[in-house]
């Protein structure tokens, strides 16, 4: 029972540390962490599908792209430069797109689900790439600066905006998305998706509506992906087809596995680690992708539960080594 307060403490410390970054570190670092917030939100959703429901999607970057393009359409084309409206539009677009695609994909599991999601991701990529007059093709669509919380922040240039107000906005968004997902995975729905992940046949005989629950998990994860994509789009100022490319989907899987999909906070740990690691490696060597690949291979072979799993196991071992002072 001492686990819950400890976890709460760690989370509070993590949030506090993140909140201090803009004041203590140069703007470069706050700016670097915006993609971390975007990926965290996306991966918290992605892991409902992967870790909790047992469905590994190789096309999830599609929803990040959808979020960014929704921002480009709402703020750029329609001229509604209000980030909250963009977030809402991104979420709605994700529901509209994920319902039919999810309906088709969740009929399959394992490699077939993976391949089908990959196929839809590639379809989305070629659509964005080829329909030049609609999407701008490979040059993408511009995403203009937007108001956040109704404020213009005229006095700030883009970097200052990102490293200041928008940083805190994203931190808040991530905490909110995390809290909401915490409720979801601890709900009756959250329990039943874990049951169907472990044994779909048995689950059906216990009245678990396997396909509908899988579909709902897929749609929720898509919404999280689109929110993450909108944050990413705000920072880059551009929605381009590479966001949807299957290698970007692989990037999402990489971060989740790195952090550990079997724990709630694993994906957040993975997103943070990869964001910082990639930045460091890129400044050291041009072969940074090679190093990342080697790290992923090592993680899968030696720590299949990822960095978060490693931390939990280590903490558990340390706790056990101490003479038991906890009263039963």
């Amino acid at each position: 029972m001492s686990e819950a307060p400890l976890r709460l403490l760690l989370v509070a410390l993590g949030i506090a540390a993140l909140a201090l970054v803009p004041t203590l570190a140069p703007p470069f670092y706050a700016n670097l962490l915006i993609p971390f917030f975007a990926y965290s939100v996306a991966l918290i959703g992605f892991n409902l599908l992967f870790g909790y429901t047992g469905l590994l999607s190789f096309g999830h970057a599609m929803y990040l792209g959808l979020g960014a393009y929704a921002a480009a359409v709402v703020a750029g084309v329609l001229g509604i430069r209000v980030f909250e409206v963009v977030l809402l539009a991104a979420a709605l677009a994700a529901v509209v797109v994920a319902l039919p695609i999810g309906f088709l994909c969740v009929r399959y599991t394992g490699i077939f689900f993976g391949m089908l999601t990959l196929a839809f991701g590639m379809l989305a990529h070629s659509f964005l790439f080829k329909f030049y007059h609609l999407t701008g093709g490979d040059s993408g669509m511009r995403i203009p600066r937007m108001r956040i919380l109704g404020l213009e922040f005229d006095a700030y240039n883009k970097i200052e905006l990102l490293a200041g107000p928008f940083y805190y906005y994203c931190l808040g968004l991530m905490v909110l998305a995390g809290l909401l997902m915490w409720r979801i995975v601890h709900s009756p729905f959250g329990l039943q998706v874990r049951a169907l992940r472990d044994n779909p046949q048995k689950a059906e005989y216990l009245g678990v509506r396997v396909r509908q629950l899988r579909l709902l998990a897929y749609v929720i994860s898509a919404v999280y992906g689109a929110i993450g994509g909108a944050i990413l789009g705000f920072r880059i100022g551009l929605a381009d087809p590479e966001l949807v490319h299957w290698t970007h989907s692989g990037h999402l899987v990489f971060m989740t596995v790195l952090g550990g999909f079997s724990s709630f906070f694993g994906p957040v740990v993975g997103a943070l680690t990869l964001t910082l690691l990639q930045d460091q490696l890129q400044s050291i060597t041009q072969y940074w992708r090679f190093v990342l690949g080697a790290i992923l291979a090592a993680i899968v072979i030696f720590f299949p539960r990822g960095l978060a799993g490693l931390a939990i196991d280590t903490a558990g071992r340390l706790a056990r080594r101490k003479p038991s002072q906890v009263a039963a």
């Binding site: 979801i184 709900s187 009756p188 009245g207």
Partner: protein, 260 residues
Amino acid sequence: MTPLLEAKGVSKFFGEFCALREVSVAVAANEFVSIVGPNGAGKTTLVNLLTGLLLPSSGQVFFKGQTISGVGPIALAKRGMARTFQLVQIFPQLTVAETIAAAVISEEGKQWRLLHALALDAAVTRRVEEVAAIFGLSDRLQHAARALSQGEKKLLDVASAFALRPEVILLDEPTSGVSTSEKHALMRTLVGAAKAAGVKSVILVEHDMDLVAAYSERIVALAEGKVLADLPPGPFFADPHIVATVVGKRSASHAQHQGS
């Protein structure tokens, strides 16, 4: 009296092969019926038809007066029939409490409550504790299912099915993989649980004739896809031809298994 569960003249073909031919079986409320027969007699096919998993090639299956041919497991659970499998079925990463709760959630229709805190749901918790108590799993509630002993896994498997509050439960060789000395204890637990949980009828598929004789009120023997006998235990075991067909072949094939 209309039977609770009834198969009327069902046949099942798999391609050219006829697994069941014109089989009629009825189970009344408050009845304990065993289905026996040598390997390949069609027991599994009959069970799959009775539980709506397979669509009969001809004939119909009725449950509470409504056809359930091919309705599938989810609808079946909703209508009040549960089944367990010969091979133990668990959710390895879930705890005992979570496994039972998964069924309770279905039964109470709470699966769409996305923001409902399950841990604070007193109704679900109470029901989980109730079911666990019936099966002697109360001190195992927080254990992972994969860490249980084989016998406990079996109990958990059946317990989760009971948590659905079924009217009929179909137990497919519930004592397979359990040592001979523990078989009777397990059966006593299961039958006691069925009574305690308000299950009306139990259908048992079993190879062990001792268990069949001890618990059945009626025995349906299948051989080569047909009903060989449908009798109470007394007359059933008094007929040497029936016993030879069901038991004889069974022990012969059993001996063969052990020899190989």
